[in-house]
């Protein structure tokens, strides 16, 4: 089973839920798909077993063959190539690596080069396998690196995908193909507002979902009212407790120090199986 953990609003506790659940069940592979700000490894203190650079293809122009016809620049939807009568300018950070310019060039003047966008780390902590990516600072495109992280999925394990915040392309790339998605929210107006957007995205993508309420007890009751109205199951509530917040701040998964939570996360995972029909 592949479970993704997303949220809409940032800082609601996605990584905390992902890591604590991963530690509470067996045979797990955790993939941290927040390649812009990966944090799961900070709670797991893993041993590194492999680091790989990740490249994307970008155009390589042979100026000798190029006659500056401008077809590539016209074709490129992302404005990654600019052709003037004298020169061809490339903007690799805008390129989506579709390869279109290499097909469209009538002079066969465009080949492909590789451009490094980040690194992939494969690590382990006890029996737990963790894969995560680190986007190079200044690189805008997270999606190709997320794709690379997800290429490491090992279906023989219980796969948990920790998503970046938001509701746009990096989130879609992460949750795509998952059997179930947990949306972690906090019971506040910001939490509810962003939860609603995230629910709409998952409904569009036809991915079954449920909610985990983190920091329960703060804010108001509107998240609960919304979930009831939409018939969305509330899978777990994690109360706001200073001890949980302090453990998190030190990089300690709270289920290790508060073993009753380990059982709750096991129950949560069993509920997911049932809800996803797996």
């Amino acid at each position: 089973m592949i479970v993704s953990i997303a949220s809409g609003k940032g800082g609601t506790g996605k990584t905390s839920v992902a890591v604590n659940m991963a530690l509470s069940i067996g045979n797990v592979q955790l993939l941290d798909c927040d390649v812009e700000e990966p944090n799961a490894h900070l709670l797991l203190h893993p041993k590194i077993s492999r680091i790989e650079p990740v490249y994307v293809p970008i155009p390589l122009i042979n100026e000798k063959l190029c006659d500056h016809c401008g077809k590539c620049s016209n074709f490129c939807q992302y404005n990654a190539i600019f052709v003037s009568p004298e020169k061809v300018l490339l903007f690799p950070e805008l390129c989506h690596s579709c390869g279109g310019c290499t097909f469209i060039c009538p002079k066969k003047a465009i080949a492909e080069d590789k451009h490094k966008i980040g690194i992939l780390k494969l690590v382990s902590a006890g029996g737990l396998r963790l894969v995560y990516g680190e986007l190079e600072v200044g690189e805008p495109m997270a999606v190709p690196l997320i794709r690379e992280v997800k290429r490491q999925i090992d279906k023989s394990r219980n796969v948990i995908l920790d998503s970046p915040p938001g509701t746009s392309c990096p989130v879609i790339e992460t949750v795509k193909g998952s059997d179930f998605c947990i949306l972690v929210t906090e019971p506040t107006p910001f939490g509810l507002h962003d939860l609603k957007i995230a629910v709409q995205v998952l409904e569009d993508m036809k991915i079954p979902l449920g909610v985990v309420v983190n920091r329960a007890g703060i804010g108001d009751k509107k998240v609960y009212e919304y979930c009831k109205e939409k018939d969305i199951p509330i899978l777990l509530e994690i109360p706001y407790q200073r001890r949980i917040a302090e453990l998190y701040s030190k990089g300690v998964p709270f289920s290790l120090e508060m073993p009753e939570w380990s059982e709750k996360f096991q129950t949560l995972f069993n509920d997911l199986r049932r809800l996803a029909g797996k």
Partner: protein, 302 residues
Amino acid sequence: MRQITVLSGKGGTGKTTLTAAFAVLAKKAVVADCDVDAPDLHMLLHPEIIQTQEFKGSKLAFVDEAKCVKCDLCREKCRFKAITENFKVDQFSCEGCGVCTITCPANAIALTERISGHAYISKTKFGFMSHAMLTPSEANSGKLVTLVRQNSKILAAKENINLIIIDCPPGIGCPVIASVTGVDAGLVVAEPTMSGIHDLKRALQLLAHFDVLPFVCVNMHDINMDNTEKIESFCKENNVEIVGRISFSPEVTEAMVNGKTIIKYSPGSVVAKEIEAVWEKISVLISENNLNERVAHEPKKR
């Protein structure tokens, strides 16, 4: 005109709470909510929309079934696996590149434009606001951020306002880069957790990469004093200006529940006073004189 972006790397550290407070304290500023896929600032500032703009950010391939000869060439050439076995376009995978349109021998595929969001220009009790909403599950938030920023500049020029305060989304990728390029200063709101420290460092690297003057404040600093000190000594070692500490307070959530900025909700509170002190410090640091001095002493790298 001066522009400052409130960012954090990590989500949920208090960017929007602080931006809304600054909008009140600055008295004369345009605020821009650049978190276009999960915007929250409007819930504290209650903008009245004056103008709405359609945003056409991305294109989508469309296969005309009547013309399709099912040759499979489009499926071979598409690097995003966006065309399904029965020759339908998967809208969640298609990046609108157009490769399928040029490989199709039957001319059965075209790119279609779609409305992927809306941009708004609004008025609030505290001034003007530029914001937007990306249609859920759409791509290209970076382009919409650029539009929000253009609108904020036009507004500022028209209304003769010389300060823009930008609320940034979390992360360090495309919409964040679009929110920080070309601004005068970036305030990184850090939280004293292991993740907070890690993400702060990457956010500071991003500001350095784009040659933006960095400031740091530690929010909810009393959650972990050791980490707060670690953050501050890291900043000192790296010559990054620390503009203050803000305490954890349940009043911040109460203010949010009441749809108010913390400044208006509990004006005399410790946390409101701390935020006022942070803003005062920033106002001096980003005054025309100080910024001009920076330009004179530290010539731009690029």
